[in-house]
């Protein structure tokens, strides 16, 4: 693949005309010797499979028998598939809770951690540690903490005099509990980037506003928050992608249950392709996921542009 690229754009080659032809060739060779291996791996393991996935998505195929070309039929079936519709709803609900949740919590915790008080190092360590733990292990641990029979969560409710809950085993609660667990695991990340952004805000800016008699809330609302906007745009996109692609936590807690109440698009794709061997249908679902994620990201960028923030 490297050779094809090396031979392509004429405009680029023209800019190398200084010196004899041999030198340009040598320069290209050196350049590709440096950039080639990684480029080949990245493109070979993404652009090429992505294109292939598109052809698979237009076929009916179980991976063994010859594939039948069905055109757009997989996509037509998908948009009417009740399981796909349910999975999309669950995914969007999760995203709608997780993205604002992780941003608001991230800002609040970052502001708290930015104070010069005792124990701050201890607090930082505690709050960032869960981010390092794998989502799979976090899911297994959550199954223990939220165990209806002898989990700590029910013990806490008992102490508060509240009724015992089924948590992950209740189809009406499971997705909210999963969102809570995801926040526990990921808030460290938004907190870290907000903390860095807070420390980058010029002190004079805040001081000046306070000298002018602005209340702490107004300083926060009109000075701090606007300064954080570029980070918020990034965090919104990054966390949207994280939420849309949530798999590990669901695999190690509910596996889509109970009664399919936590079946997300990614989990559905996994089941279609690797449990029921419906490769074409699964690939089509993956393309729909890709398009929805892309549209949501563009929406965030469009919205932030409209609000006057220039990050992209």
């Amino acid at each position: 693949m490297a050779l094809t690229f090396a031979a392509t754009p004429r405009t680029q080659v023209a800019s190398f005309k200084k010196g004899p032809r041999g030198r340009a060739a040598r320069r290209n060779l050196t350049g590709w010797a440096f950039a080639g291996p990684a480029t080949l791996i990245v493109i070979g393991l993404s652009i090429f499979p992505a294109v292939w996935a598109f052809f698979i998505s237009r076929a009916k195929w179980n991976g063994i028998a010859p594939a039948t070309q069905v055109g757009w039929r997989n996509y037509q079936l998908l948009v009417k598939d009740p399981d796909m519709i349910a999975a999309t709803k669950h995914t969007l609900l999760l995203t709608a809770l997780f993205v604002p949740g992780s941003i608001i919590l991230g800002i609040v915790i970052a502001i708290a951690l930015n104070q010069k008080i005792r124990l701050i190092g201890f607090y930082r360590t505690c709050i960032f540690v869960p981010y390092v733990a794998s989502a799979a292990a976090t899911g297994i641990l959550a199954g223990f903490v939220f165990n209806p029979q002898f989990g700590v969560a029910n013990d806490v409710l008992r102490h508060l005099g509240l009724p015992q809950q089924q948590f992950l085993e209740n189809p009406h609660q499971a997705i909210y509990i999963i969102c809570l667990i995801a926040l526990w695991g990921e808030v460290g990340f938004t907190t870290v980037i907000y903390l860095a952004a807070l420390q980058d805000i010029p002190r004079d800016l805040v001081e000046a506003a306070r000298m002018d008699g602005a209340s702490p809330w107004r300083v926060f609302r009109h000075v701090t928050l606007p300064e954080l906007r570029p980070v918020t745009v990034f965090a919104a996109i990054w966390q949207t992608i994280t939420a849309m692609q949530l798999f590990d936590l669901i695999y190690t807690t509910t596996r889509g249950g109970p009664l399919n109440s936590t079946q997300t698009i990614v989990y559905y794709i996994y089941e279609l392709a690797f449990q029921t061997q419906r490769l074409g249908y699964g690939a089509a679902a993956a393309y729909l996921l890709f398009i929805v994620t892309l549209l949501l990201s563009l929406l965030v960028i469009w919205y932030s542009r409209r609000r006057g923030s220039e990050v992209f």
Binding site: A35, A38, I47, A196, R255, F290
Partner: protein, 278 residues
């Protein structure tokens, strides 16, 4: 920073009232995981739950190692993550340098293609990648788990950004003195790139160690599982063997948690960098 509260009423800053409960919520489940891994089943299966084990029970670990190839999974994970980190450091720093400093035909289009891949989700790639790996015969081997981790668009981008910000005078001097491009890179540029390389190593370690979906898809022989896959599948079969599950969880999370505790500043710098440049 704005002060939300007037100090003086409490003997300590009111921020503690927010931070202390939060810190406990974040860290206590992990502490409980560690403590539970040293409990007997009888101790675990009681309500209200106990936090501190009466004595050090090692049966969770003993059963885990005798009933599953957990040690093998651990070794596999170490192999996959090591290859991922070493390969990322080598290939992405070379490519990043190439894209930042060297002029060659096709550089522009190759870089745009690499950037475009960032948007493609793994779920879209896993079906064709599985088929591709099946065709070259590496499905169900450790290679299936580490080949996708040999290099990444993120790594190339990170290194390129770093090299773009590095003044070029030193390299130019070395080149004029007759050192080749490769020697200049090895002995002048790479030593300067240590902070970026540390960031890249940490992020690759985190992502490859914790990866579940791809190795779950690509590997079905339980001697070739990584820890995350092994545990996730073990949990599917033995939902109630909590001491073993927590022992496995400790095995899967503690190496990274310890690394985090020892090199906290570098980890946080890495997370910040991911946020700002990612």
């Amino acid at each position: 920073m704005p002060r939300f509260f007037k100090e003086g009423k409490l003997p300590f800053s009111p921020w503690h009232l927010l931070l202390m409960p939060l810190a406990l919520i974040f860290v206590l489940p992990l502490v409980q995981m560690l403590l539970t891994s040293f409990m007997s089943s009888a101790e675990i299966n009681q309500f209200p739950p106990k936090l501190i084990p009466t004595s050090l029970h090692l049966e969770g670990y003993r059963h885990l190692f005798s009933e599953t190839p957990a040690l093998r999974w651990f070794v596999n994970t170490v192999i996959v993550s090591s290859i991922a980190v070493v390969s990322h450091l080598a290939l992405c720093s070379m490519a990043g340098y190439g894209f930042a400093r060297l002029k060659f035909a096709g550089r522009g289009i190759a870089f745009v293609l690499i950037l475009a891949t960032v948007m493609i989700p793994i779920q879209l790639l896993m079906i064709p990648t599985y088929l591709m790996f099946a065709r070259i015969g590496i499905v169900d081997t450790l290679a299936a788990a580490y080949v996708p981790w040999l290099a990444s668009a993120f790594g190339i981008f990170l290194m390129r950004q770093f090299f773009l910000g590095l003044p070029a005078e030193l390299e130019e001097a070395a080149l004029i003195d007759g050192a080749g491009q490769w020697r200049t890179f090895r002995s002048i540029v790479l030593p300067l790139a240590k902070p970026a390389l540390t960031t890249l190593a940490i992020i690759t370690l985190l992502w490859s160690w914790n990866d579940l979906l791809w190795p779950l898809v690509a590997i079905s022989d339980d001697h070739r599982f990584t820890l995350q896959v092994g545990l996730a599948n073990f949990q599917g079969m033995r939902r109630t063997e909590w001491s073993q599950l927590m022992a496995g969880n400790v095995l899967a999370t503690m190496p990274l948690i310890l690394a985090f505790l020892f090199a906290q500043r570098k980890f946080i710098a890495t997370m910040t960098f991911t946020g700002i440049k990612g």
